[in-house]
């Protein structure tokens, strides 16, 4: 019997997840509700089957996620009896930080990065799983599978520990932590193939449907609630759209699509000429911007 490349990726990820549970005292899985998180969660189930997942999941809620994401999150937690923590940066909420008037940079910094750091400090997690993949973005291509963070949760890209074979350096001092990326070697198409083969449930936003959108900064933004104020020159259109990645709804661009099933998405993807992070405003607000965000503590 020969293992296919997906089988190899699957076993590699399970190995990584088990290694963290073996070597760390207090790991957590960052659950962002997206397709990569759904795959990661699925792999965690497999790693410890028939037992329950032996760590908590945590969602950093910016309060601006799509409503359907939050519903899906709560249903998933209930269905699988997950230990789910939800953290919101209350100070950010008090200061009315939001993606529309504060801008994507400040909003992401306060409600995602700072919020995540607050939560990691509060619960004293020593390892945090994230669903990032190396093929997503150039600075992620450089990141280790076990990526060290100092006491202030900062990443030092120029001083990463060499990571040889599958031997992971798990030694840290008190207050330090690692971010662990079990999906490092998966590509976008691998993720979709796996979702198809394993029949992994996803947030319906990935599938095309008629949705209310406006056009802003050359992007189609879905009107998910009345916090998105429609400007005079804008009008709500009903368009058949879907999302390639999910984040805060005012920062996540929809793409026109007819794909309503995983199969159709894969076919669309094969014909597509645009990468998935193109739908994310935050990547392009400055040159090398993902690297900067990651240094500050963003996933």
């Amino acid at each position: 019997m020969k293992l296919s490349h997906i089988d190899k990726l699957e076993s590699e990820s399970i190995h990584i997840i088990r290694e963290v549970v073996s070597e760390f005292d207090n790991p957590v899985m960052l659950y962002s509700i997206g397709k990569d998180s759904s795959v990661m969660l699925h792999l965690a189930h497999k790693a410890f089957y028939p037992s329950k997942i032996p760590f908590k999941l945590m969602h950093i809620d910016t309060t601006w996620k799509f409503k359907e994401m939050i519903n899906f999150r709560d249903e998933t937690a209930k269905k699988y009896n997950l230990d789910l923590l939800v953290h919101i940066n209350k100070e950010g909420v008090r200061n009315n930080i939001n993606p529309i008037s504060s801008g994507s940079k400040i909003h992401t910094d306060v409600m995602k990065t700072q919020s995540l750091i607050q939560a990691l400090d509060k619960y004293k997690f020593d390892a945090a799983f994230g669903g990032a993949r190396r093929d997503e973005e150039k600075s992620r291509a450089k990141e280790r599978i076990f990526s060290f963070r100092d006491k202030k949760h900062r990443w030092d890209p120029k001083n990463q520990k060499p990571e040889l074979w599958n031997l992971f350096n798990t030694k840290i001092d008190q207050g330090e932590s690692v971010r662990v990326f079990p999906l490092s070697n998966w590509t976008e198409i691998d993720i979709w193939q796996y979702i198809y083969q394993e029949n992994i449930p996803l947030v319906p936003l990935y599938f095309s449907k008629i949705r209310p959108i406006i056009r802003r900064n050359d992007m189609m933004i879905m009107v998910d609630d009345d916090r998105l104020k429609i400007k005079e020159n804008e009008k709500i259109e009903q368009k058949k759209v879907r999302f390639r990645t999910l984040g805060c709804y005012p920062l996540t661009a929809a793409v026109e699509s007819d794909a309503t099933t995983v199969e159709e998405i894969i076919i669309e993807l094969l014909e597509s000429k645009y990468s998935e992070r193109q739908g994310r405003l935050i990547d392009n607000d400055q040159i090398g911007s993902m690297e900067k965000k990651k240094q500050e503590g963003y996933f």
Binding site: D7, K142, K158, L167
Partner: protein
């Protein structure tokens, strides 16, 4: 397109892990950019962003600089070099590639080693205008050391030498000449130009004299040789699944061979025989499982197996349970490797303290000569003997890469400082056993009502260690206690007169003193040690040689300014004038203890008062 056919094609594709290496500016990032571009694995938005960046940082004038697709760190784009290993993914009709782009600069060799450790094939780039360079040799050697059997030598920038066949052949000849002893299984030479794309994907008419395949075709046709012990099953236990009371399973990733339900194996450490009842693979319960799968097994009986152990075939194997082995080591840290210093050794499912007892030789990467040396510096490779504190299960690297490799971690700053591949086992320790004597430490020390211990004084030269230690010994003597004072200067006249003041010698100096003080504690004595002992690592080693409550670390806290002002032996003056090298506090480091049992602050109290504090401590802890 039919989706099932698509997946079938995907699943039939071979997965190949490759790395590009060679000297700086040989065009590695450009080649990978070319591979991604020609295989149409670049999206148009990534391309347009690269165009913008090409104008800012590019080296190709108005043309798009494909290297900028790859260099992901801001500093890399600005400096136009690759610093860290980057992983890229692309595919062709036949193959899925994971490609590690590794740096060419000598100072980033450790990142190249990192990329090589996980690769099946090495592409060695040679700049046709420069020929074979030191880095070409170094990287070729590392590939061979890490057991990479397939290499492709891509002679790049052929466009710059007008596709000259003679020059190409000369480069091949000199490569073959230095690489002949490496025994690569497959070794191919291709003239290419990554910049214009010649012979990368497409064969090019500019090089009509070349009859071989293009780079991508050559890669697609590589078939990976199965390792020697393929048929022998081994599963390092990674995790024992006892998360619920009704289930007990043993999890890990199979590193060689295959298993079926009802097969019999043994637990390597205890040699106990067990039978496999259930196999849980990622695809659910199965009758069998193979190399590479992450599985959970249930067994026919409850046996003592924990993380670090190994399940393997009962007979005919090459596995060892030992605390010593010989290995090649690559050093990856600015702080040099010091023999006899304790480090953490991490294996696939186990970590323990150990040390490099003896560096047999290091290797000159230009001539591949073996050179005598005591230590390794950053990026140096040597052959060494390793001794661990605990027995560990391993297999020589050539038989099983997963069970024959390890990394070395610094105990204090947690850096990964080295990596090694195991060559063979060493059996020394098992022949020497510790003789149990009838009269022991407790009996010896009970005669005069004391508990033996080490009072370990550490501090800068001139801080007052010896003065205070001397007073303490006098006071203990008056109390009728048996003591011995080991003084730094005195010991260097005899036992350690062969040692100087380099870091390596300082470590050996303290190692000997630690062993002597252990014997003295065993003799029942209150042992007073007065040495600068500047490194945390060696003080920890001394501490670990005796029982937990027998080691009392005393930090004599005197500032360097104060010591220099006192300068009782005139040493600081000499050191400042450059007449004395490697002087602690001047041109050699002193690491302040993080949690000593006692701190003596000499600027507040007299030596007499400080000595009384130590005596009081000994009384409080029932030592006297």
């Amino acid at each position: 397109m039919d989706i099932e056919t698509f997946f079938q094609n995907q699943n039939n594709k071979k997965q190949l892990k490759i790395l590009t290496c060679g000297s700086v500016d040989d065009g590695k990032s450009t080649l990978i950019g070319r591979l991604l571009f020609d295989s149409k694995n670049i999206y148009s938005d990534q391309l347009s962003q690269t165009k913008i960046e090409s104008e800012k940082y590019g080296t190709q004038g108005k043309q798009i600089d494909l290297a900028l697709l790859i260099d992901g760190l801001q500093a890399e784009r600005e400096q136009g070099i690759t610093i860290d290993v980057a992983y890229r993914y692309f595919e062709t009709e036949k193959c899925k590639f994971i490609i590690a782009d590794t740096p060419g600069h000598e100072e980033y060799t450790r990142n190249m080693v990192t990329g090589a450790s996980n690769s099946d094939v090495g592409i060695i780039l040679v700049d046709a205008t420069k020929g074979i360079l030191d880095q070409t040799k170094r990287h070729t050697f590392i590939l061979s050391l890490l057991g990479i059997e397939n290499i492709i030598v891509a002679v790049n920038k052929m466009d710059l030498i007008n596709y000259d066949e003679i020059k190409f052949k000369n480069i091949i000849a000199s490569f073959k000449n230095f690489a002949r002893e490496f025994n690569f299984n497959l070794q191919k030479f291709i003239p290419i130009s990554a910049l214009v794309g010649d012979n990368v994907f497409q064969k090019n008419t500019n090089i009509s004299w070349y009859n071989g395949k293009s780079l991508i075709n050559e890669l697609e046709e590589i078939s990976l040789k199965e390792p020697l012990e393929e048929e022998i099953f081994s599963l390092p236990i990674q995790f024992v699944n006892r998360l619920s009371s009704e289930f007990r399973g043993y999890s890990g990733t199979i590193t060689s061979g295959k298993i079926k339900v009802n097969d019999e194996f043994h637990v390597f450490s205890s040699k106990e025989k067990i039978k496999i009842i259930k196999i849980l693979t990622p695809k659910g319960e199965s009758d069998f499982a193979v190399k590479g799968q992450a599985v959970t097994l249930t067994l026919d009986k409850e046996v003592d197996i924990s993380r670090g152990d190994l399940l393997c075939s009962v007979k005919n194997h090459n596995y060892f349970l030992s605390d010593q082995f010989a290995s090649h080591i690559i050093w990856m840290n600015k702080e040099q490797m010091i023999p006899e210093r304790n480090y953490i050794f991490k294996f696939i499912n186990f970590q323990t303290i150990g040390k490099i007892t003896d560096l047999v030789h290091k290797i000159n990467i230009n001539s591949f000569e073996k050179i005598a040396s005591k230590f390794l510096n950053l990026n140096e490779i040597g052959y060494a003997k390793v001794a661990l504190n605990k027995n560990t299960i391993f297999n020589p690297y050539k038989n099983n890469k997963k069970l024959g490799s390890f990394v070395i971690i610094d105990q204090f700053n947690n850096q990964t400082v080295g990596a090694g591949v195991i060559e063979h086992e060493l059996r020394r320790a098992s022949n020497i056993s510790w003789h149990q004597m009838s009269i022991n430490k407790n009996l010896r020390s009970s005669i005069n009502g004391q508990k033996p211990c080490v009072l370990w004084f550490t501090g800068l030269s001139g801080s007052g260690k010896s003065t205070i230690a001397n007073i303490i010994e006098q006071k203990l003597h008056k109390l009728g206690k048996h003591t011995y004072l080991l003084d730094g200067d005195n010991v260097r006249h005899g036992l350690n007169k062969d040692l100087g003041f380099t870091d390596v010698d300082r470590v050996e100096n303290i190692r000997r003193i630690s062993e002597v003080s252990r014997l003295m504690v065993d003799a029942g004595l209150i042992t007073i040690v007065s040495f600068i002992s500047p490194f945390k690592s060696e003080r920890k080693m001394a501490r670990e040689l005796v029982e937990i409550d027998e080691f009392i670390e005393i930090y004599v806290d005197t500032s360097i300014e104060e010591c220099e002002k006192r300068d009782p032996k005139g040493l600081y003056k000499k050191a400042r004038s450059g007449k004395l090298k490697n002087f602690t506090g001047i041109d050699s480091n002193y690491e302040i203890p993080s949690s000593p049992e006692i701190i003596l602050e000499t600027n507040i109290k007299s030596a007499e008062e400080l000595a009384d504090e130590v005596i009081l401590y000994l009384k409080q802890y029932n030592k006297i």
